[in-house]
Symmetry: C2
Subunit: 180 residues, 2 copies
């Protein structure tokens, strides 16, 4: 849809190649917040957030091969995540809290920054090409875990403290703007 | 996750470049059915289906720039669609039944095969680069409209009767395998 400025929604995925990682990810968070104003539907918001993440990392030439979300599985809410919106190749459908990087983020409610997934105990490989990963828990306004933000990279050490900081801001924005 | 055959979920997005369009889309439908066996969660299934669509069309060198879903908006179920899982650039969040190609598919419950979007009355451009589009309604087991499958292409006449036939099979499979 064309907005007042004559631009299209798709244009929101344009990130200037001259920006630093911190600037790109800050723009991503601002764009997410603008999109989620007056729109609390979590499926809609996570779908657009996946697109923003994919295009932001590709504008930075970071070889992200998967960007998206797992949410609490309504069929097993105390111990299982289920696949949510994402961009990338087909992914595992459910993940137990005690399995892999996503499970660890869900169980501890702490960001998991993993420079080498092969060194992570119990790593679940949805894609054998993934080398590094970052997973950030998503808590709602009341501190209840609603899901995790998950990004995979084809390179070792794909993510650092800057990613952690900005993605935690995004996860907080998502947790607080969505109705779950 | 590695299955019994030692392959990863991501490998399901591999479509041989030697296949015809009909063969590729048939493989897509079969893969969707295998993935949705024992998994009725609609968000999970539409997320993986979007990935399959994106990778299938790219294996065919058809310049698809958006592949995904709009579903009935629970806040306005009689007259509005809301964005669901997709792959591609950021998209319009809600679409009224009386607006554009997606709205027409929802209102008529009939596939809309649009060789040139600029000639479609009331076309909504989420992305100004889209030239052609196909939208297929998704009905559940009881014939109730649950959403639409939407694919956009950067070329004119990106889709034909083969796409219509195979995507209607996929939409029927999705409608009947998911709990809505």
């Amino acid at each position: 849809m064309v907005n007042e400025q004559g631009t299209h929604h798709a244009d929101l995925t344009s990130f200037a190649s001259s920006l630093t990682k911190s600037e790109t990810l800050s723009q991503l968070v601002e764009t997410y917040l603008a999109l989620s104003t007056d729109q609390p539907n979590w499926v809609c918001n996570l779908s657009n957030a996946s697109s923003l993440l994919w295009h932001a990392y590709h504008s930075l030439n970071i070889p992200v091969n998967w960007a998206g979300f797992y949410v609490i599985d309504p069929k097993s809410p105390t111990d299982q995540l289920i696949l949510g919106p994402f961009q990338g190749k087909v992914a595992c459908q459910t993940i137990r809290f005690n399995r892999g990087v996503c499970g660890a983020a869900a169980e501890t409610k702490l960001t998991q920054l993993v420079p080498n997934v092969e060194e992570f105990p119990g790593h679940i490989a949805c894609d054998g090409e993934t080398k590094s990963e970052i997973v950030v828990p998503i808590l709602d306004k009341n501190g209840v875990l609603r899901g995790v933000l998950d990004i995979d990279c084809l390179a070792l050490e794909g993510f650092d403290e800057t990613d952690k900081e900005e993605l935690e801001l995004l996860a907080k924005s998502i947790g607080e703007t969505c109705e779950w």
